[in-house]
Symmetry: C2
Subunit: 155 residues, 2 copies
DNA sequence: ATTGAAAGAGTCTCAGT
DNA sequence: ACTGAGACTCTTTCAAT
């Protein structure tokens, strides 16, 4: 349940703009949104205090860094009560960048970023097989990312 | 295939640090990595020119903004040649934040961020049903995100 | 709540090493 | 290739509205 935050259109505009580009200066963002740089500063400070804004992250080109393979792994557990212990083991594999506990076809759903198919194979056959509680897995290898973008927070 | 970039340990350390926190000053990051702020500056400029660093993005708390539901949608296509036209239609749905063309169980795999289960139902039953070429879909609703983190680029 | 201006902090350039 | 210092830009604070 979202707490009542009382954000207005300007707050959402700032969030939307900076989700895409957090480097823009307050003065420039103010110009774009027709307020002063000081107002942008006040709003961002408020959003940070509210916990809505958590920080900024560098956006990198993973392919250029040699991470050519993105895959998703659907995980079937022997018992769903094993969730926490399996999650703890999966966290130890650095190539697993995200793990969700899900309803539907799988019990858990993981995203993996790795250098090549050989490394993916190693993770699937050697690392995952060792973890007690995993019944079986299904792998989806991403052949292409059609798009990746931020959610639209402006009505 | 990754082009030969000739990045050294310091480059990777800078990337690793700033993937998590891009707000740190060059002086502070320099202290942490035992070089001058000027050196950090030179390296980041180089990484930007190489295209490895693409920019910085605001990190926000989606739950606080009222986006309580994250789901994954596996999509089966009638014919895999319909990929581009279906992708084009899916891009028009702003709640779909990511779309991958995949091998494995599904033809395409989407991630959705929405306000509540009612909105998810609307997307699944009204918006996706209208798109020609989708045979059927399978939905995984995230009950909990165990973790989400950046890939480890340091050897 | 917004603004503009002053103070403080960070970035960027460059000459020296 | 790294450093430190100066010039420049941006952030932050604050008094006025």
């Amino acid at each position: 349940m979202a707490v009542k935050l009382n954000l207005d259109k300007l707050d959402f505009q700032i969030i939307q703009e900076m989700m895409e580009n957090a480097e823009i200066s307050y003065a420039d963002l103010g110009k774009k949104l027709f307020v002063s740089g000081g107002t942008i500063h006040v709003r961002i400070k408020k959003l940070q205090e509210l916990g809505v804004v958590k920080g900024t992250k560098l956006s990198v080109d993973l392919k250029l860094l040699g991470y050519d393979v993105i895959a998703f792994i659907g995980i079937f557990l022997e018992k769903s009560s094993l969730y926490d212990t399996v999650a703890k083991e999966l966290r130890k594999i650095p190539e697993i960048v995200r793990l969700n506990y899900t309803t539907g076809n799988y019990s858990m759903f993981a995203e993996v970023v790795c250098k090549d198919i050989q490394q993916l194979r190693y993770i699937l056959h050697d690392e995952l097989q060792k973890i007690k509680g995993i019944e079986r897995t299904e792998t989806l290898i991403s052949l292409e990312e059609s798009f990746a973008r931020n959610v639209l927070v402006i009505s």
